[in-house]
């Protein structure tokens, strides 16, 4: 049979449930802007009814069984994936944006300096004995060599910057995996009690997201918590253990990434800032550098060959105009003028000082195909095209992933985020529930008072 006492206890449970809901709401509002926070809900359950005499079942109120975080693992995984793509594109974009100005038409880019050299040669042909015109050719040649040197140094210094980026990324990965691994046993312990991972899980998800910014990771849920591997399968976190990567300088002067057994996994790392940096350094910039070196080498060699077919102002066979390295690699960095005496420009085709016959051969380098099959101007134009296209593609990818990430975050936030409006409305609901339960308590209290007073009244 229902008693006042059982009603009171039921009302206290109600107060407890409403308090729990208020607490969750309070926590949700407090964390409305906390990154990675997933909103919590209080899980209420109807208490099992008691069947009293006469087979009348009476409800026993409400039970607060716990708090549950509202998660969406699928969206979380998609966000991690897009974050990797976005960071990778951003790494490439940031490097290309620094490289691009060197290949933008200016007063000092390779294309302009190359035109200036050929203009000075053409100008010399109108007065082959003019020392001023000869000096102008040397100066233009020097400026072109400097333009090659500058372009090469822009590319190599960008590679050097990316090397330190790789080292930094690896150290960040190691820190993050350590933290993630440390959370695994704690979460497992909480879960073992049948509770939700809650704040610990939020924290771990947030760390995995930070890790995704650096490199591509795949996450597998196990009994011991999350197991993390890189995109190519190198383990990073197994249970409570984190497996550190190492960064080391290879024989090519580049920073390589080794797994804990010392195996080189550099080329298999993809996605994230690390993957983007490695791809930019080893493929994009290396490719551009190779083309630049080839152009510098073939151009210098062609100019030297043209110079050798004529005679200088002293009637001697033309010496090399440019010092060109014997190997293609490093040619753009090392190309320089080989002659400093204006008289040594081999303008003459027959040894007489006033002949300009060989300038035609020097000028012809501009319109003749180099060994690469392209004229020097076309070879440079395609280099400019590639720089532009790589930058533009990286930009497009960065924009696309940013926008897709925004959408995914909207979706995730829709499912798991805190809405202040919703919490405000809940606050009112829970406040009313609390007030109602309190009213029940106060009603029961007055009933108790009446009951207690029954004897007193009789005594009077």
């Amino acid at each position: 049979m229902a008693s006042l006492s059982s009603s009171l206890s039921m009302a206290v449970q109600s107060l407890n449930a409403a308090s729990g809901e208020l607490q969750v709401t309070n926590n949700n509002i407090a964390n409305a802007n906390t990154p990675g926070y997933t909103r919590q809900v209080a899980v209420l359950q109807e208490a099992a009814p008691i069947t009293s005499a006469g087979n009348i079942a009476v409800g026993q109120g409400v039970q607060l069984t716990g708090y549950q975080s509202v998660r969406d693992e699928l969206l979380q995984a998609q966000i991690q994936q897009q974050t990797q793509a976005q960071s990778g594109a951003n790494a490439q974009l940031s490097s290309m944006q620094q490289i691009q100005p060197t290949f933008t038409t200016s007063t000092q880019d390779i294309g302009t300096e190359m035109s200036a050299l050929f203009s000075s040669i053409s100008s010399l042909s109108t007065n082959p004995t003019s020392s001023t015109s000869r000096q102008a050719v040397l100066a233009a040649g020097q400026s072109l060599a400097t333009a090659f040197n500058t372009a090469s140094s822009t590319l190599t210094s960008q590679q050097a910057t990316l090397n330190s980026q790789v080292t930094q990324d690896v150290s960040q990965i190691n820190q993050l995996t350590k933290q993630i691994a440390a959370l695994n046993p704690q979460i497992a312990a909480v879960k073992a009690t049948g509770q939700d991972g809650g704040a610990l899980q939020d924290q771990q998800d947030q760390l995995v997201l930070s890790l995704s910014k650096i490199t591509s990771v795949s996450v597998t849920q196990t009994q011991n918590g999350e197991t993390l591997t890189t995109g190519n399968g190198t383990p990073l976190v197994v249970g409570s253990q984190s497996l550190a990567l190492q960064a080391t300088t290879g024989s090519d002067g580049m920073t390589h990434v080794l797994d804990r057994n010392g195996a080189d996994i550099t080329s298999s790392l993809t996605g994230g800032d690390l993957g983007g940096s490695i791809q930019t350094r080893d493929q994009t910039i290396s490719g551009l550098l190779k083309q630049l070196d080839t152009l510098a080498n073939q151009f210098g060699t062609a100019m030297n060959a043209a110079q050798a077919s004529g005679y200088d102002q002293n009637g001697n066979a033309g010496q090399n105009l440019f010092t060109v390295s014997s190997t293609v690699a490093g040619s753009a960095a090392s190309i320089k003028m080989a002659v400093t005496d204006p008289a040594l420009i081999a303008a003459s085709s027959d040894g007489s000082s006033g002949s300009n016959g060989n300038l035609t051969n020097l000028s012809a380098v501009q319109t003749s195909a180099l060994a690469s099959g392209q004229t020097p101007g076309d070879a440079y134009a395609s280099l400019v095209y590639q720089v532009g296209s790589l930058t533009s593609n990286a930009n497009a990818e960065s924009t696309a992933t940013t926008s897709s990430l925004l959408q995914l975050n909207d979706q995730l936030s829709s499912a798991t985020g805190v809405s202040i409006d919703e919490e405000s409305a809940n606050l009112i609901t829970y406040q009313q529930a609390y007030e109602a339960a309190a009213r029940v308590v106060s009603t029961i209290q007055s009933l108790f008072s009446v009951t207690m007073a029954m004897g007193t009244a009789a005594a009077e």
């Binding site: 053409s122 296209s389 909207d410």
Partner: protein
């Protein structure tokens, strides 16, 4: 924001979407402003990679067009100098014809002939002075040997600086391989050039001179001998035949005219036959000089014919004066013919100059369409971007402070 038609969409914070919208709109505004302020649609290769690459090619071509234009401007006065010199030569030769014709008259007195002869001498010096015209320090009729006057007064004998009685040169003296010795003959109007090979000696040079005499390049009797002072002496062996000798062989030293051997009214051509050509268009090269030997010595020997007229007036018969005058008449027509290609080049340069000017305009138009911003579009884009930006900001200002809490008391 996700699509509004999704069922049960909970809208939480609008901040990320607002921030994104503001960033996008500010990015658009900045792009529009950059296009309006620079007037360029493509400011860096990534703005339009293909247009940037084409621009590199177009700018290279544009630089060539500028240089061709500059070449034309440099060449025109140089060629006009040559043209005006030839014109003066023709005028001078015509006056020599007039003088010769009057000198060929049977009634003229010997004293008057001498006077006419000296007038022709002055015509000759006018011709030589015009033939040695220079433009900005370069002698226009010297071929590619343009740094020294191409027509030089000739002497009968040249001797080497090297060699002495104590240490004489000999036929067996080895010459420096690669050295060049040139003998220019005023009478024949031709030159022999001897380039020493390894193993060549003075004897090789001597036989080369003998061969040139046989071939008619040098006047009959010309020899190369070792004189009593032990020097190499190259001589025409005729008081009226002048030569000019030069050598860069250190074994011989510089060749200089022996004193008192100058031949009156004899000038030899010491330039060369090189014709330089300069590019003034992608497929247009023009010859920029007319070698003096082609103009005045090797074809109709203009200088030789003037010398002959002077000699005929000084000591020849009426018939000889008449023949010499006739030779000058044909020289006039020969020189006039030589001027034709020069004049045609000048007119070609003039028309090329206007073509290049037009080409430059075409290229500029092409470059503007490649990378330039259409200002009307750019301005419209800018005002549109400004409007969008204000709208986004206004929307953000309106929406962001909205919460339920404001309405709850």
């Amino acid at each position: 924001m996700t699509a509004p038609n999704e069922a049960n969409m909970r809208v939480t914070s609008m901040l990320p979407d607002m921030q994104y919208a503001m960033q996008q709109s500010q990015q658009n505004l900045s792009t529009a402003m950059q296009q309006v302020s620079t007037g360029l649609r493509v400011n860096q290769p990534s703005d339009d990679p293909a247009a940037s690459a084409n621009m590199v090619r177009s700018l290279a071509y544009s630089a060539n067009v500028d240089q061709y234009t500059s070449n034309v401007s440099t060449l025109l006065p140089q060629m006009q100098t040559a043209d005006s010199a030839i014109s003066s030569i023709v005028t001078a030769l015509n006056s020599a014809v007039t003088l010769g014709t009057s000198g060929a008259s049977s009634s003229i007195l010997t004293a008057n002939k001498q006077a006419i002869a000296s007038q022709v001498e002055s015509v000759l010096s006018t011709v030589i002075s015009q033939a040695n015209s220079s433009f900005q320090g370069a002698y226009v009729f010297g071929g590619s040997a343009s740094s020294t006057p191409p027509f030089v007064a000739a002497s009968t004998t040249y001797t080497s600086a090297q060699g002495s009685a104590a240490s004489p040169l000999s036929a067996a003296t080895a010459l420096t391989a690669g050295s060049v010795t040139t003998i220019s003959d005023a009478t024949t109007g031709e030159s022999m050039t001897f380039k020493a090979q390894a193993g060549d000696t003075v004897a090789t040079l001597q036989s080369a001179v003998a061969s040139a005499v046989s071939a008619g390049t040098l006047s009959a009797g010309s020899t190369a001998t070792i004189n009593t002072d032990g020097q190499l002496s190259i001589s025409s062996n005729s008081s009226t035949a002048g030569i000019v000798v030069s050598s860069n062989d250190a074994v011989l030293g510089s060749m200089s005219a022996a004193s008192g051997t100058a031949v009156a009214n004899a000038y030899a051509y010491v330039g060369n036959s090189d014709v330089n050509s300069v590019q003034v268009g992608d497929s247009l090269n023009v010859a920029t000089n007319l070698p003096g030997n082609q103009l005045l010595t090797s074809g109709a020997n203009v200088i030789g014919s003037l010398t002959n007229l002077i000699t005929a007036l000084q000591s020849g018969t009426t018939a000889q004066i008449g023949a010499a005058t006739t030779a000058i008449t044909s020289a006039v027509s020969y020189v006039s013919q030589q001027r034709v290609p020069l004049d045609s080049t000048i007119s070609q340069l003039n028309s090329q100059e206007s073509y290049l000017g037009q080409e430059k305009i075409t290229l500029t138009t092409q470059q503007t369409s490649l990378v330039g911003a259409n200002l009307a579009d750019a301005a419209t884009n800018l005002s549109q971007a400004e409007l969008d930006n204000s709208a986004v900001l206004a929307a953000a200002a309106k929406v962001m402070p909205q919460t339920l809490l404001q309405y709850l008391q």
